[in-house]
C-alpha cells in the first residue's frame, strides 16, 4: 500500500489544490504553498519508510499488484529495487524542495501547485512502475505536465519564447516516446505468454539468442533496442539529441528546471538500466561501445559548450549534458559482457546510479540558486555580475559547495560517483575513460570561472542593495547540499542499496 499511496496522495492533492476556494491573493498563496508542501512531503515520508523496510535481495521488493487490462497482459504493478528506490526518494525530495521554493507564480497559484503535485505523482510512477504499459503511461504524462509548466510559467525575452521552448521539448521527447511505444510493442509481441510485466519479461528474456537465434537476437532485437535507445537518449540527453535541453531549461521557471534536471533526465538513464540492461543484455552488449563513445562525446562536448556560455542557466544546463555523460559511460561499461570483469562492471553501474542521485541533488540546487538570482536580478548574464560575496555570503557559500560538488571535489557526492564510474570504466574501456577524464578538467575550469564571475571582483553599482537569501531558500538549499556532503563523506547507506541490485544485474 505504501507505494500506491505515494502515488495517490499527490494526485489527490493536485485535485484538492485545483478546486481550493478563493480568498485574498496573499493568503491564498501562503495557504496553497503549505497545503501543496504537505501533500508533496507525504511520498517522501512513505518512501523513507519503504527504505527502512528495504532488504536488498537484488530483486523487486514491496511489490503491489492489481489487475488492469488482462486482455493485453497489462497489470498495475509497482515495486522498488536498488535502482528505483534512491531515484524515487530523490524525486520526492526534489519536489518538496521545488514546491516550497519562492518563485513568481504569475497569479495562477492553483494551477501551478496542482500541476506540480500531478507531476510528482507521475514522476514517482515512472520509477516505481513494474509494468511496461504503466511505465509508458507515466512517462507520457510527465511530458504533458512539464509542457504546461514551461509554457505557462516560463520566462524569456519574449513570452512566445517560453512557449516555443515548451513545444520543442514536447515535440522532441514525444517523438522519442513514440519510438519507445513501437519498441515496447516489439518486445511485448515477442513475449510468450503475452505480458507487459517487467519481472516476467526479465525472466523470459524474449529477445535473447535462445529465442530469436543469432548472437544477441536478429533484426527485431536491434530495432527494439534502437527504439528504446532513441527515446532514452533524447531524455538523458545524449549528444546529438540534446538540443531541446538548453531552451527548456533556460526558459522554465527555476523549480521546474530543478525537476527537469533532477528528475526527468534521470528517467532516461533509468530506462537504460531498467529496460535495456535488464531485459536485453545481449543486444545491449553489441551497442555498448558505440554508446560509450557517445557518452564520452557528451562529456567532453557538454563541458566545452558549457565553458563557452555567458548565460548562467545555460551553463548549468550544459553541465547536465556533461554529467549525464558520466552516467552513460558507467552504464555502457556495465553493459559490455565480454570486456572487463564483473567487479569493474558492477562498480561502473553503481557509480552511474550514484551519479544520477548526486547530479539530481547538485544540479537541482544549482537551478534553485539560479532562480534566486533571477528573482533578484532579472538577468542571467554572467558579465552583469561580480563581487556578490560581499553582499550575499550565504549564497556564495551554497553556490560554492554546489559548484565544487559538481566538478567532483573529494568529500562531496559528485566525487563518489565519478570515482566509481571511472575506476569501473577503466576496467572495461580504458581509452574511453581516459578521454572522459578531460570532462572533469573542463568542468572544474567552468565552475571556477562561474564562481569568480558571480562572487569575486568588483560589485557593480546596481547590486549595492542585493537582498540576502530568505531563510526558506537557505533551508531548502541547505538540506539538499547537506545531503550532498553526507553522501560524499559517508556514502555506505546509499551504496548498499544500489549495489544490492547492481551486482545481481551485471552477474546475469
Amino acid at each position: 500500500m505504501l507505494l500506491t499511496l505515494s502515488l495517490v496522495v499527490p494526485l489527490a492533492g493536485a485535485v484538492l489544490v485545483a478546486v481550493w476556494p478563493r480568498r485574498t491573493p496573499e493568503r491564498d498563496a501562503r495557504t496553497l504553498r503549505a497545503v501543496a508542501a504537505v501533500f508533496a512531503a507525504v511520498p517522501l515520508v512513505l518512501l523513507a519508510a519503504a527504505w527502512a523496510r528495504f532488504q536488498g535481495t537484488g530483486g523487486f521488493e514491496q511489490v503491489e499488484h492489481a489487475a488492469w487490462i488482462p486482455s493485453l497482459g497489462v497489470g498495475y504493478t509497482v515495486g522498488v529495487d536498488g535502482f528505483s528506490l534512491p531515484l524515487a526518494a530523490l524525486t520526492a525530495l526534489l519536489f518538496v524542495a521545488s514546491i516550497v521554493y519562492p518563485v513568481d507564480r504569475k497569479g495562477r497559484e492553483r494551477e501551478y501547485y496542482a500541476l506540480f503535485l500531478f507531476l510528482e505523482a507521475v514522476s514517482l510512477g515512472v520509477f516505481l512502475a513494474l509494468d511496461l504499459f504503466l511505465f509508458y503511461v507515466f512517462w507520457d504524462l510527465s511530458l504533458v505536465g512539464m509542457y504546461f509548466l514551461i509554457g505557462v510559467w516560463g520566462h524569456g525575452t519574449r513570452p512566445e519564447r517560453a512557449r516555443r521552448s515548451a513545444l520543442k521539448f514536447f515535440l522532441y521527447t514525444l517523438a522519442g516516446s513514440l519510438a519507445m511505444l513501437l519498441a515496447i510493442l516489439g518486445l511485448y509481441l515477442s513475449t510468450e505468454p503475452r505480458t507487459m510485466d517487467m519481472a516476467a519479461i526479465i525472466a523470459q528474456q524474449p529477445l535473447s539468442a535462445d529465442h530469436v537465434g543469432g548472437g544477441g537476437g536478429g533484426w527485431l532485437a536491434t530495432l527494439v533496442f534502437v527504439g528504446f535507445a532513441i527515446a532514452f537518449a533524447i531524455k538523458t540527453p545524449m549528444v546529438p539529441f540534446h538540443t531541446w535541453l538548453p531552451p527548456a531549461h533556460v526558459d522554465a521557471p527555476a523549480p521546474a528546471s530543478t525537476i527537469l534536471a533532477g528528475v526527468l533526465l534521470k528517467m532516461g538513464t533509468y530506462g537504460f538500466v531498467r529496460i535495456l540492461l535488464s531485459m536485453m543484455p545481449e543486444t545491449f552488449q553489441r551497442f555498448a561501445f558505440p554508446l560509450g563513445v557517445l557518452a564520452v562525446v557528451s562529456i567532453v562536448y557538454g563541458a566545452l559548450v558549457a565553458l563557452a556560455q555567458g548565460n548562467l542557466k545555460r551553463r548549468i544546463a550544459y553541465t547536465s549534458v556533461n554529467h549525464m555523460g558520466y552516467t552513460m559511460l558507467g552504464i555502457a561499461a556495465a553493459a559490455s559482457l565480454w570486456a572487463g570483469d564483473v567487479a569493474a562492471r558492477s562498480l561502473a553501474l553503481t557509480g552511474a546510479t550514484v551519479e544520477m542521485v548526486a547530479h539530481g541533488l547538485i544540479t537541482g540546487a544549482l537551478f534553485l540558486i539560479s532562480g534566486s538570482v533571477w528573482a533578484r536580478a532579472e538577468t542571467y548574464e554572467l558579465s552583469d555580475f561580480g563581487g556578490l560575496a560581499s553582499r550575499a555570503p550565504a549564497l556564495t557559500l551554497l553556490t560554492s559547495i554546489a559548484a565544487f560538488a559538481s566538478l567532483g571535489l573529494p568529500g562531496l557526492a559528485g566525487f563518489v560517483a565519478e570515482f566509481q564510474v571511472f575506476v569501473g570504466g577503466f576496467g572495461v574501456y580504458p581509452w574511453l575513460a581516459g578521454i572522459g577524464l578531460l570532462g572533469i578538467l573542463i568542468t572544474a575550469a567552468l565552475f571556477l570561472h562561474l564562481l569568480q564571475k558571480l562572487f569575486l571582483g568588483e560589485l557593480p553599482e546596481r547590486w549595492r542593495e542585493w537582498p540576502r537569501l530568505a531563510p526558506l531558500e537557505v533551508a531548502v538549499l541547505g538540506v539538499l547540499l547537506a545531503l550532498v556532503v553526507w553522501i560524499g563523506v559517508y556514502p555506505r547507506w546509499l551504496l548498499d542499496v544500489i549495489e544490492s541490485a547492481a551486482t545481481v544485474l551485471v552477474a546475469r
Partner: protein
C-alpha cells in the same frame, strides 16, 4: 437463423425502431404546433434508447447471418450499431440549442435518424445490395444535413461538394457491384466468397476492377484518400452538430462493412491488404500535413478526422493476421468517436468562434470547456491513459504482428507531426491571454439560447469527454468484450 422463407423480423427490431422513430418524428415535425416542436428531439431520443436496448439484447445472442444471409448479427456489427446509436444520441443533445431558431427544426432530427439508420444498415450489411442500400441511405440523408443552414454560403458549398463527390463515387460503386455480381453470380458475401476463391487467378482483372470500384464508394464514406475532400468542408460549413455526426457515424458503419468485404475478396485477384495499407498510409499522412496549415478550428478538426481514418484503416490491413485487429478497430473507433464529439461539443458551446486566435485564453475564460478540448485532443494524439492511446496501442500492435511494421512506423511519425497542429490550438488555449471575443463574451451568432436548451449541449460535451477518460482507464471492460468478436462471413 438464416431463414430462407419468411422474414425474421425480430432480428432487425432495432433498425425498425430507428425507422419508426424517424417517421414519427417527421409526422410530429409536420403537424405539431410551433411551441411543441421541442418534442421532436425527445421522440428521437426515445427511439434511439429503444434501439439501444434492443441492440444490447442482440449482444447476448448468437452471432449469425440473417435474412437469407444478407444481414449480419455478428459482434462487430452489434457493437458498431451501439456506437452509432450512442453517437446519434449525443448529437441530438448537441443539436437542440444550435438549431432552435431554424424553421425546419423537427425535420432535422428525422434526417439524423435516417442517416444513423443508413450507417447501421452498413454495419450489418453482408450482401452487396444491403451495402449499396446503406451507403445510399446514409449519403442521401447526410447531404441534406450538411447543407441544413440554407442561407449560408459555406453550408451550401459543403453540401454541394459532398454531394458531387458522393454521387461520383456511389455511381462507381454501383458499377463495381454489378461487375462483381456478374462474376460471382450472387450478391451475398457468404456465397460469394467461395465462388471468388475458386476462380483462377482470383478472377483476374475483372474482379480487381470490380472490387476497386466497389471500394471507392466505401472509401468516400469513410473519408479516406482519394475521396476525402468533402470532410474538411463539411466539418467547416455544415451545422456544427451535423458536422460532428457526419465525421463519425458513417465512418463506423463503412469500416465494418469494408472489413467484411475484404474478408471475402480473393487476395490473388485484388490485393486488398496492400490497398488497405497504402490507403492508410496515404490518408493519415495527407490528413496530418493538411491540418498543419489550418487556422480555422473546425476545418482543422475535419482534416484531423481524415488522418484518424488513416489510423483506423491500419486495422483493416491486419485482418486475419492479428488477433488485435478487430478489437483494435472497434476500440479505436469508440475512442475517436467520443473524442471528436467532445471537440465539436466545445466548438458548439463557443458558437461562432472558429478561428484559432479566438480560442486563445480559453482556459481562463471557460476552464471546463478548455479541459474538455484538452482531453479530446490528447486522446486524438494518443496520450495515455486516455482511450485514444489504448486504441492506437492496439492498432500499432496489430500492424507489427501482421508484418506491417513500416505502417506502424509511418503512423508513429504521423502522430509526432500531429502534435504540431493540436498544440497550436491547445497552446494558446492554456498559455494565452483571453481573446477579445472570449473576454467580452460577445455572442457572435445571434442571442444565446435559453439556458435549459444550452445545457443539453454542455451535457453532451461533458459525457463525451468523460467517456474518453473512462474508456481509457477502464479499457479492460471493452477490450474483453471485443476479444471474442467475429466479422462474418
Amino acid at each position: 437463423m438464416s431463414g430462407s422463407h419468411g422474414m425474421p423480423v425480430g432480428t432487425v427490431a432495432l433498425e425498425l425502431a430507428v425507422l419508426v422513430g424517424a417517421v414519427v418524428v417527421l409526422l410530429w415535425a409536420l403537424f405539431a404546433p410551433r411551441r411543441l416542436q421541442g418534442g421532436a428531439p425527445v421522440l428521437a431520443a426515445v427511439s434511439l434508447a429503444t434501439a439501444a436496448v434492443l441492440a444490447a439484447r442482440q449482444l447476448a445472442g448468437a452471432e449469425a447471418l440473417t435474412f437469407s444471409g444478407t444481414y449480419s448479427l455478428d459482434g462487430a456489427a452489434v457493437w458498431a450499431k451501439l456506437l452509432i446509436l450512442a453517437v446519434t444520441a449525443v448529437t441530438v443533445a448537441l443539436s437542440v440549442a444550435w438549431l432552435r431558431t431554424d424553421r425546419r427544426f423537427g425535420e432535422y432530427f428525422t434526417l439524423l435518424l435516417f442517416a444513423a439508420l443508413g450507417a447501421i444498415l452498413l454495419a450489418g450489411a453482408a450482401d452487396l445490395m444491403e451495402l449499396i442500400l446503406g451507403v445510399l441511405l446514409s449519403s442521401a440523408a447526410s447531404y441534406v444535413l450538411a447543407g441544413y443552414h440554407r442561407t449560408s454560403r459555406l453550408a451550401g458549398e459543403a453540401a454541394i461538394k459532398y454531394y458531387l463527390l458522393g454521387a461520383l463515387t456511389n455511381g462507381l460503386m454501383l458499377y463495381g457491384a454489378a461487375l462483381l455480381f456478374g462474376v460471382a453470380g450472387t450478391t451475398t458475401f457468404a456465397t460469394m466468397g467461395p465462388v471468388l476463391a475458386a476462380l483462377t487467378d482470383g478472377g483476374g482483372w475483372t474482379v480487381a476492377v470490380a472490387a476497386a470500384l466497389l471500394v471507392m464508394g466505401l472509401v468516400f464514406k469513410i473519408g479516406a484518400v482519394p475521396a476525402h475532400a468533402w470532410m474538411p468542408d463539411v466539418a467547416e460549413g455544415s451545422p456544427a452538430p451535423a458536422a460532428a455526426f457526419l465525421t463519425v457515424a458513417g465512418k463506423v458503419g463503412a469500416l465494418v462493412v469494408l472489413a467484411r468485404l475484404f474478408q471475402v475478396l480473393p487476395e490473388a485477384g485484388f490485393a486488398w491488404r496492400a490497398v488497405a495499407a497504402g490507403l492508410a498510409a496515404a490518408t493519415m499522412t495527407l490528413g496530418n500535413l493538411a491540418a498543419l496549415w489550418q487556422d480555422d478550428v473546425r476545418r482543422l478538426l475535419g482534416w484531423s478526422s481524415v488522418s484518424q481514418t488513416g489510423y483506423a484503416l491500419m486495422a483493416l490491413a491486419c485482418l486475419g493476421r492479428s488477433a488485435l485487429a478487430v478489437p483494435g478497430l472497434l476500440f479505436f473507433l469508440a475512442a475517436y468517436a467520443f473524442a471528436n464529439l467532445a471537440a465539436f461539443g466545445v466548438v458548439i458551446r463557443l458558437r461562432g468562434l472558429t478561428g484559432r486566435a479566438s480560442y486563445s485564453g480559453l482556459a481562463r475564460a471557460r476552464p471546463a470547456l478548455a479541459l474538455a478540448l484538452a482531453v479530446s485532443f490528447l486522446s486524438l494524439l494518443g496520450i495515455p491513459p486516455l482511450a485514444g492511446f489504448v486504441g492506437k496501442l492496439a492498432l500499432f500492435g496489430a500492424a507489427i504482428e501482421a508484418g506491417f511494421t513500416w505502417l506502424a512506423v509511418v503512423a508513429a511519425v504521423n502522430t509526432v507531426v500531429s502534435i504540431a497542429y493540436y498544440a497550436r490550438v491547445l497552446g494558446p488555449v492554456y498559455f494565452g491571454e483571453p481573446s477579445k471575443l472570449l473576454a467580452e463574451e460577445t455572442p457572435v451568432l445571434g442571442p444565446p439560447p435559453p439556458s435549459w436548451w444550452a445545457r443539453w449541449a454542455t451535457a453532451g460535451t461533458a459525457i463525451s469527454a468523460l467517456a474518453v477518460v473512462a474508456l481509457g482507464l477502464a479499457a479492460e471492460w471493452l477490450l474483453a468484450a471485443f476479444a471474442g468478436v467475429r466479422i462474418l462471413p
